[in-house]
């Protein structure tokens, strides 16, 4: 296998050099464009040769993503990106594998592969484009659509509570969960870098705007006026502060989180929780994923990031170990082992 370090220098690419020759076909204004930029930037900054990357997607608007990258890419079938990617990573562990999936693709038809890929901790990055709608099929509700939402398939409002991708991921034993908004390229790149560097399945939920079928669904969080109050951008080791003046913070009271203002009612920064993404105890991470505006800011950035063995590494270790310890050294040994008999 090619040694990445030696080739890295000679193939350092600019973000736009990661593009393929295909025209990007998303609607003007679609949030997917931002993710495309962020991914190209991330690869460039991490200096990963484009032939060492594979983008594996399902079906949906977002799943067209691989066509727009000049890397290896596979636009598979609806919901199965994680399944295909698992095979890719096991077969070819040197590849940087990126799973591209929508909220329908990953959480409706692909829900089973989503939870199992997380549980197994396959070393890949899963980008979950959450626009809370089925875009490609023109606007039906998805498993993340808010209760009561009116869509083409719910003209009288939906009647089901949505999944919270973060809660579901953590309930599936996730080791890395992050959340970003499509309007904040800087945070997105920072998060994607951590995701790529994390060993194991990194799930990144992207709050993505669909201008056509679900416009402004995230606008309370992403809107210019409201975002400061509604975004809590977590950084490992830093206090959980937010707000236009960065003077609001989160405090733990028993098993409830609470918004406090530093400087009011005797609150000091010491009362504010400090983010520890690396805490193996998932409880606080679980609580953070649940925060909803307007009562709370929405937690963004890397919420959970802990070390654990990966499935693919364990698989290759086991192969190596078996090889080292085997009484067989060739298939011929196997074929000739045990009860054989000669006919003359």
């Amino acid at each position: 296998m090619i040694n990445m370090e030696t080739t890295a220098v000679q193939c350092a690419l600019k973000p736009k050099e990661y593009a393929s020759d295909q025209e990007v076909k998303w609607c003007p204004g679609c949030g997917d464009y931002a993710v495309l930029s962020a991914v190209r930037k991330t690869l460039s900054e991490l200096n990963i040769p484009k032939e060492k990357v594979a983008f594996i997607s399902g079906i949906g608007c977002s799943s067209r993503f691989p066509y727009y990258m000049g890397s290896y890419g596979f636009h598979t079938i609806h919901g199965r990106a994680a399944g295909v990617a698992t095979g890719v990573k096991i077969a070819n562990p040197d590849l940087s594998v990126w799973i591209i999936s929508g909220d329908g693709d990953a959480l409706a038809i692909g829900g089973n592969h989503f939870i199992h890929a997380i549980r197994r901790n396959i070393n890949a990055n899963l980008l979950l484009f959450n626009n809370q709608i089925y875009g490609l099929t023109k606007g039906q509700y998805s498993p993340t659509s808010e209760l009561g939402m009116i869509t083409k398939s719910s003209p009288h409002g939906t009647i089901e509570e949505p999944f919270s991708p973060g809660e579901l991921a953590i309930g599936s034993q996730s080791k890395f969960f992050a959340r970003v908004v499509d309007t904040d390229l800087k945070t997105m790149v920072a998060v994607l870098k951590q995701a790529e560097q994390h060993n194991g399945l990194s799930v990144i939920e992207i709050l993505q705007n669909c201008v056509i079928f679900n416009d402004k669904i995230h606008s309370a969080i992403t809107g210019k006026e409201t975002k400061a109050e509604n975004q809590l951008i977590l950084e490992h080791g830093k206090p959980m502060l937010f707000g236009a003046e960065k003077n609001k913070g989160l405090r733990l009271m028993g098993l409830e989180l609470e918004v406090v203002t530093v400087g009011e009612n005797g609150i000091t920064e010491a009362d504010v929780l400090v983010h520890d993404a690396g805490n193996p105890n998932p409880t606080l991470h679980y609580m953070l994923t649940q925060l909803k505006s307007p009562e709370f800011p929405v937690a963004l950035g890397v919420i959970r990031n802990i070390k654990a063995p990966t499935y693919d590494q364990a698989l290759h270790n086991q192969r190596a170990e078996e090889k080292a310890n085997s009484k067989f050294h060739s298939l011929n040994d196997l074929f000739l082992s045990g009860n054989t008999f000669r006919v003359n």
């Binding site: 890419g73 199965r80 095979g87 890719v88 990573k89 074929f335 000739l336 009860n339 000669r342 006919v343």
Partner: protein, 610 residues
């Protein structure tokens, strides 16, 4: 004491699920195979893990046919039946040869057990067995007393009684105990009491048979005149697994298996997962869809990728197989068929997934379909499936069936040097390379290993533009691609051997078979040919595409009959392609293989029917 020489014999061990009949049968098989006999076996057990004790539903059987020649199937009916309890007797009563020998554990013929088996009166007393040679032996009690002194618990003691029966059978056939004794020495190396017990009981059974003189004669089956070489026994599933291992080696690719357990295919997983030392990558997925999808991913990433399943699992994989067809990736799909439809008869045999293999996908989506004939040749067909997949860049569906997957046959060991090389259609030069550019001879596109510079490309399930592989919605391109995909598969016919016929000079009746019913069909036709009947036989392993001389073979026969374990699926397939001929049907849908007897009956009927 007479010692009769037999060309071949059929023995059936039958008892409760817990009575160890499968082990007894396998040990007998090993001994006789080792001696150089031809063998064919048929294990048959209930689908419940532990079916209710003492009932007919709970009977577990193992039939073995062994001999010097003519062993094409496990045999229709046993020459010797071992019935460990009344239920085992009951289950087999309707299928016995006249005057055959029945060994009975008389200890178990209590009133209660007789009732539970569904007999209204004691069959040993009411005369219904008067046509048979009945050997009553107090197997359970003699087992107990023979090892009373070894200090084993009662459960372990009773478990040995299968060895008593086996000992008797060994005596009856003048076979040696050595191999079985060795087996126990190895198996229980760390539990010497168990070694002692099993050997003791085995010998006691052997001596009992000799001393009681209950048998009026014993038998002797001479060794087969096989091709010289080293042999071993394999089940079909084991042979399939080994064939896959060998193919990966000869193709110089890692083997990847993505699968989900399902009866009767799971043993392929069980076997392959033992051989991580050989570099196999095993992924036990969360379901069949993830199983096939992971294999498609592995294939995209450069491994020789396989998925294994049975009918209901196959149904779940069809969407993804369509993706492999569109992306023209090599993929081997093994379907070990069981009885259908739906969950159907999970532990019984059938050939009813053929239509599904041929047509069970949306759109026009051609794939190569091949099938295996016998347990040991599963090795060759698995190997061939891999070869076609990577040389022709196409999914290949390999159909085997419960009957051969669980059955055993001696395999003439093929060492790696004896196997042909496999040449994956790998992209080597950048010059002129394009994702969907094709080899002229095979129409296969090139296989690229991601990670290599200069071959970066994107594929997917949307229609591809010819040559570039870009997404294309253009009308004429689609039509072209539909044709190209079909032709690529059709052209595999140029790369497979011609179809053979047994009985070149016949012109009255042509018997057609496919898949795992080979042995029985071959046997039945052979017998009729020896009787001088005007009958020929051709057996298909390549189903789609068919060998290039297929049509020629049908020419000149008065009648053609297709024999299969389903409601006429292969016959339909042939009829659609060869309207010039009339394909009659002989179908069996009982979850059981054909018997030579019913085949001979049918063929004679067709031969006399003019």
């Amino acid at each position: 004491m007479i010692k009769t020489e037999l060309k071949s014999a059929v023995i059936k061990f039958a008892g409760d699920s817990g009575d160890g009949m499968q082990l007894a049968g396998m040990l007998f098989t090993d001994t006789t195979a080792n001696k150089g006999n031809e063998i064919a076996t048929f294990p048959d057990f209930p689908s419940e893990i532990r079916a209710p004790q003492g009932t007919v539903a709970g009977v577990s059987g193992f039939q073995i046919h062994f001999g010097e020649s003519g062993v094409y199937s496990p045999g229709d009916a046993p020459d010797v039946l071992i019935a460990m309890n009344p239920a085992a007797l009951k289950a087999n009563l309707s299928n016995l040869k006249p005057a055959c020998t029945i060994i009975i554990d008389s200890d178990n013929f209590t009133e209660r057990a007789i009732g539970k088996a569904g007999f209204s009166r004691n069959p040993l007393e009411n005369g219904i067995l008067s046509d048979y040679q009945i050997i009553e032996a107090p197997i359970t009690s003699l087992t107990k007393s023979s090892i009373a002194d070894l200090g084993l618990d009662n459960k372990s003691v009773v478990r040995c009684k299968n060895m008593f029966a086996l000992g008797m059978v060994f005596w009856l056939f003048n076979e040696s105990l050595d191999q079985t004794i060795n087996f126990f020495k190895q198996k229980f190396a760390k539990k010497p009491a168990l070694v002692k017990a099993n050997i003791k009981v085995l010998q006691t059974g052997f001596h009992f048979a000799e001393t009681v003189e209950a048998f009026t004669s014993s038998f002797f089956v001479p060794s087969a005149k096989k091709v010289a070489g080293i042999y071993r026994n394999l089940t079909g599933n084991q042979a399939t697994a080994w064939g896959l291992l060998a193919a990966a080696k000869k193709a110089n690719r890692d083997l990847f298996l993505g699968t989900y357990p399902i009866t009767p295919a799971t043993d392929i997983l069980h076997e392959l997962t033992k051989h991580k030392w050989a570099g196999v990558k095993i992924f036990q997925a969360e379901d069949e869809i993830a199983g096939v999808c992971s294999a498609i991913g592995a294939s995209f990433a450069g491994d020789l990728a396989v998925t294994t399943t049975s009918g209901p699992g196959m149904a779940l994989k069809t969407e993804a197989i369509g993706l492999a067809i569109m992306t023209e990736l090599p993929l081997v799909i093994v379907n070990v068929q069981r009885g259908g439809p739906s969950t159907g008869l999970p532990t019984k045999t059938e050939q009813s997934d053929l239509s599904q293999a041929l047509y069970g996908r949306n759109g026009d989506s051609p794939a190569v379909v091949i099938s295996a004939s016998t347990p040991a040749t599963c090795f060759d067909w698995a190997f061939e499936a891999c070869r076609i997949a990577v040389e022709h860049m196409t999914p290949v569906i390999l159909l085997t069936e419960s009957y051969i997957a669980n059955g055993t046959e001696p395999w003439k060991i093929k060492l790696l040097d004896e196997l042909a090389e496999i040449h994956p259609n790998t992209a080597e030069s950048h010059e002129d390379w394009q994702p969907y550019k094709r080899d002229k001879k095979t129409l296969a596109r090139k296989w690229v290993v991601p990670g290599t510079t200069g071959f970066e490309h994107r594929i997917g399930g949307l229609e591809k533009e010819d040559i570039t592989g870009n997404v294309s919605y253009m009308p004429l391109n689609h039509e072209k691609m539909v044709h190209l995909r079909a032709e690529k598969v059709a052209m595999v016919t140029n790369d497979i051997p011609l179809q053979k016929v047994k009985g070149r000079n016949a012109n009255q009746l042509l018997v057609i078979g496919w898949g795992g019913q080979f042995g029985i069909l071959f046997g039945a036709v052979s017998k009729l040919q020896i009787e001088g009947k005007n009958i020929a036989f051709t057996h298909f392993n390549y189903i789609h595409p068919l060998p290039r001389n297929t049509k020629k073979i049908f020419e000149g026969f008065e009648r053609i009959v297709v024999c299969e374990l389903n409601n006429g699926q292969f016959a339909n397939y042939l009829q659609a392609q060869f309207p010039e001929y009339r394909f009659e049907r002989f179908n069996k849908m009982q979850g059981l293989p054909f018997t030579v007897k019913e085949l001979k009956g049918k063929f004679n009927e067709l031969l006399n029917d003019d």
